[in-house]
């Protein structure tokens, strides 16, 4: 009865707001992996950060498949850990666990994933970060993968978290950036509550990250022969051992060369500007993206990129710890940003939540990127405190009002209000119905898979890009469309969110426009192509240098 009333209320809200409803269909479609990530008390930091997920079309059948990363427990890890990933094949909307047949069974303590076709063979490969050695799975193109970590030279044994592929030197091969977190050893890290740094509001909680030694990030250059080289120092990637989490390659100054943004936990965020000569310069502080408006380092978790204000430049949204706001950095051009969190209406609401996975995506297809945030406390102990926070938290969903402001609208989707301790989030139109759906990994719980019901009432268009001279996944490509006199941009991005990977296809909402007048693609190697008009309501495959198919 209650459900009926809630459903009716949501329906009324939908008709009032016109915003789609997100319905959790995870169990119904067969995505049921029970996440393992430490014990329920979260005695140590390694148990608390959870995992991510990735959308990828590993068999190139046009249906995006789902890969979920899994952790382990301290006890299991001593015996080799738990299965690091689960791969679900999308059989027209129902998902089948094909982990074993895809040869992805490998034990360890997985963290996150990023996807790209690193060897340009036409099939997406997967990189898995881990507490312990990271793993690169090469897609064999026959439904199976091979662990090529050792031969590729990317098995960083530090505690890897976020990762992203991007072709920073535009040589046609995607390179790889891996964020590392802290040096953690159960034998030396003190137990819960052992000192001031291991308490939260009077409760005994796990120690760290503050007080633990951080680990530097790493940049690998893809040599184009199946191997990578660690070029961190050579490329000027100077990470002062910050606690790295979310990472994304994105051309933030719109010069055609991908820059790197890293959200760091409890430390300033880093922005490496691409010097266009194989090196980077860290410009986080001067760009205004290292700290919040008040000059304070926050606890960066996830990161999303998107042009929320339609000025043709990518903005940055970073999720942060509870009792602090998430932060929206508006791009003012020339690699200068301003913290617009408060004026955009994103400040006060987010203070009660601890944000992780996130995305700037047009969920109602009105042509304006909205914001989704998956939340969850890291300390189960907060439940025994009366401090306005709980371990299980609802999601935040912000509708872009088109005037530089957002409106929190999660109430339109009762399933989003169900409390979970969520971590990674990945987005894709898994059922190819023209609106973007959301997959969320919940710690020590089954995933949530929110189907977008009603987003496709507006028109839309999607692009699947294939590089020829550029990297085959076209990662870094900038797509600009013009429909009805209105321009939008988006990018093919690897990494981002929190430990997660969105579908590599680019999706635009068009409102009531049924046609796109002009499409302009700037490929990762800098060459631009333009075409149009094209009809809306479909995913168009575009091969670099060829006409739209």
């Amino acid at each position: 009865m209650i459900l009926v009333i809630v459903g009716a209320a949501a329906s009324a809200l939908h008709s009032e707001t016109g915003f789609p409803v997100f319905v959790d269909i995870a169990e119904r479609v067969g995505i049921t992996l029970m996440n393992i990530c430490g014990g329920p008390q979260k005695d140590y930091i390694v148990e608390a950060n959870g995992n991510g997920a990735a959308f990828l079309d590993y068999d190139n059948d046009g249906n995006v498949d789902v890969l979920i990363v899994n952790g382990s427990t301290l006890e299991h890890y001593k015996k080799g850990g738990d299965p690091m990933v689960a791969l679900y094949r999308n059989d027209n909307g129902h998902f089948v666990d094909v982990t074993d047949s895809a040869h992805l069974r490998k034990n360890g303590w997985g963290m996150g994933a990023c996807v790209a076709d690193f060897n340009n063979d036409g099939f997406p490969d997967v990189y898995i970060t881990a507490y312990g050695p990271n793993v690169l799975f090469r897609n064999n193109g026959d439904g199976t993968f091979t662990d090529v970590t050792a031969s590729a030279g990317v098995g960083d044994a530090r505690w890897g978290t976020g990762c992203a592929f991007g072709d920073y030197d535009r040589d046609g091969n995607v390179d790889l950036y891996v964020a590392n977190y802290v040096s953690f050893d159960e034998k030396t890290v003190k137990p819960r509550g052992s000192n001031d740094l291991c308490r939260y509001m009077g409760a005994d909680v796990f120690c760290g990250p503050v007080g633990l030694p951080g680990q530097p990030d790493v940049l690998y250059h893809n040599n184009g022969d199946g191997t990578f080289s660690d070029v961190t120092a050579k490329a000027g990637i100077r990470d002062p051992n910050y606690y790295g989490f979310g990472v994304v390659f994105s051309d933030l100054d719109n010069d055609g060369w991908p820059d790197i943004y890293v959200a760091n936990d409890s430390q300033p965020n880093l922005l490496f500007r691409n010097n266009r000569n194989g090196t980077f310069t860290e410009v986080g502080l001067s760009s205004g993206t290292a700290l919040n408006e008040a000059g304070r380092a926050q606890s960066g978790m996830g990161v999303a990129i998107g042009d929320y204000d339609g000025n043709g430049l990518p903005d940055i949204f970073v999720t942060n710890f509870a009792r602090d706001t998430n932060t929206l950095y508006k791009n003012l051009d020339n690699m200068f940003f301003v913290d617009s969190t408060v004026s955009a209406g994103l400040g006060e609401i987010s203070l009660s939540y601890l944000g992780w996975g996130t995305s700037l995506a047009d969920l109602d297809n009105d042509g304006l990127p909205d914001i989704f945030v998956a939340n969850g406390q890291v300390y189960p102990q907060v439940d025994s405190l009366n401090v306005g926070q709980k371990y299980f938290q609802r999601k935040e969903l912000y509708r872009n009002r088109g005037n530089g402001k957002f409106e929190e609208i999660a109430r339109t989707s009762p399933d989003l209000l169900i409390g979970k301790s969520s971590r990674g989030a990945a987005l894709a139109d898994f059922d190819n119905d023209g609106d973007v759906d959301i997959l969320v990994v919940n710690i020590n719980d089954r995933p949530s898979f929110y189907r977008n019901d009603g987003g496709n009432r507006n028109h839309w268009i999607g692009f699947r890009l294939e590089g020829t001279r550029s990297n085959r996944s076209a990662i870094g490509a900038r797509v600009e469309i013009e429909a009805g006199g209105r321009r939008q941009i988006s990018y093919v991005l690897s990494g981002g969110s929190y430990l997660s990977q969105n579908d590599l296809r680019v999706h635009f909402g068009l409102g009531d426009m049924t046609r796109v007048d002009r499409v302009r693609i700037r490929w990762p190697n800098g060459i631009a192509e333009e075409f149009g008009p094209v009809e809306a309501g479909r995913v168009i495959t575009i091969k670099e240098g060829a006409a739209a198919q």
Partner: protein, 437 residues
């Protein structure tokens, strides 16, 4: 000395406001108490502690002396000790607003905010007299921490009802409006806060933010420049100034300011990093390397008391008694309330054969921390050198007894800042939690 000046000022005010209420409850002949308060008023915090402890030694249940000691140990960050003095003070007559206020302060400092809030609310019920505004200010800050904005605003408005010119309340309300995207009202409140003398910390950067949010970048620059002129180490104002200059297109000025900001941050970060590495080296026995790192840290921050104390301890353990004393005297000048510094000085004087100075310093260490067995053992050694056999034996015996107490953990000689952090059980007791919470 900065943070102790703050502490002394706070206690001079507290002494003036709360003394009558506390005195009313005490049977104490107040001459010694007055002497202790006089020492506080003169800024001699150590002497005040010694005097109050003398009162407590004579009359262990003395509420007034215990209350003041609780306040002083709160200011020193030793909340377990502060709480235990407060419990003594409260024994005879717990229903006093001043005690609840003190309990609220201790609880807030150990992090249990709802419990601190409850103590402050109890303080209001019991009556706080002229100090009611300061309780409302604490309540406002706690409600902000607990994310209850409307109650926070109510609390700050209560402060202004009682003290219309309270700069901290105007600052807090200004920030509240800033976070609620109402920069116009924020500017009005923050300007009022700015007019007080001295203006509260953080008002310049907040006002700069408010002007920036209003789009009045020139006013933002002007106020932020004033903030930086007033305090060149005001990181928040410096950062904001750099950002606003860049937003104004004044790239050269903006870059220069951001470089200054970066340099300030780097200095702080480098000092911390050197200090932490030095402590790790010392703990692993690499005293030579540790000494080098500490000297480097002190080149950047010459008056950083923990580094001065640690360098003194390292030099002492390397046999450089004279060098150690030089460092420890500087450490003592920067932080006259660190028992470990006095203990190291006592050791250094003992090694130099200067027994009366050794005794004086060790007694100071013991005054500040009566439960460290090493201080008793050192006293035993000094008495022994003085041929005071009975005193020596008594000190050694007490040292052994302290060492055998449950929960005793040997202290780390190189990390005195960490020594007095309260354990989990103490925090739970302070917060009034059940043992399993």
């Amino acid at each position: 000395m900065g943070r102790f000046r703050h502490l002394v000022i706070g206690f001079c005010i507290l002494a003036t406001i709360l003394a009558p209420a506390v005195h009313a409850q005490t049977r104490q002949p107040n001459a010694t108490l007055a002497a202790g308060l006089a020492e506080l008023n003169r800024g001699n915090v150590f002497e005040a502690i010694r005097t109050f402890k003398e009162i407590v030694r004579v009359e262990p249940s003395s509420p007034a002396a215990s209350f003041y000691l609780s306040g002083l140990y709160t200011g020193m960050g030793r909340y377990g000790t502060a709480y235990s003095y407060l419990k003594t003070a409260m024994k005879d007559n717990p229903a006093q607003g001043a005690y609840d206020h003190q309990l609220g302060l201790i609880r807030r400092n150990v992090g249990c905010r709802p419990e601190a809030l409850s103590a402050f609310q109890q303080a209001l019920k019991a009556g706080m007299g002229k100090d009611e505004a300061s309780v409302w200010r604490q309540i406002g800050d706690l409600q902000v921490d607990l994310l209850d904005w409307d109650k926070a605003l109510d609390a700050y408005q209560n402060v202004l009802r009682l003290q219309p010119n309270d700069a901290s309340a105007h600052l807090a309300i200004g920030r509240f409006y800033l976070d609620r995207n109402d920069p116009q009202r924020a500017v009005s409140e923050l300007r009022t806060a700015l007019e007080s003398a001295p203006p509260p910390d953080g008002v310049y950067s907040s006002l700069g933010r408010a002007y920036r949010a209003l789009g009045d970048l020139e006013s933002a620059v002007s106020i932020l420049q004033k903030g930086v002129e007033r305090n060149p180490a005001d990181q928040d104002s410096l950062y904001m100034l750099g950002q606003v200059l860049l937003a104004l297109g004044r790239g050269k000025d903006g870059k220069r300011t951001m470089d200054e900001y970066q340099s300030l941050r780097d200095r702080l970060s480098r000092t911390n990093s050197l200090f932490e590495s030095a402590i790790e080296r010392a703990q692993s026995g690499e005293l030579d390397r540790s000494e080098g790192l500490l000297k480097e840290a002190l080149r950047i921050a010459p008056r950083y008391a923990p580094a001065l104390q640690a360098l003194g301890a390292v030099q002492l353990n390397r046999g450089n008694t004279q060098g150690a004393l030089e460092m420890l005297k500087q450490a003592q000048a920067s932080n006259p309330l660190d028992s470990e510094t006095y203990f190291d000085m006592g050791t250094a004087y003992l090694r130099s054969g200067r027994l009366s100075e050794a005794m004086d310093m060790t007694l100071r260490a013991r005054t500040l921390d009566e439960e460290d067995p090493r201080y008793q053992t050192l006293l035993g050694e000094i008495y022994s050198k003085m041929n005071k056999t009975a005193e020596s034996r008594a000190a050694f015996d007490l040292g052994r007894e302290l060492q055998s107490r449950p929960g005793y953990r040997p202290a780390d000689p190189y990390a005195s800042e960490m020594r007095h952090r309260d354990d989990s059980a103490t925090v739970k007791t302070i917060c009034g939690y059940d043992a399993d919470k």
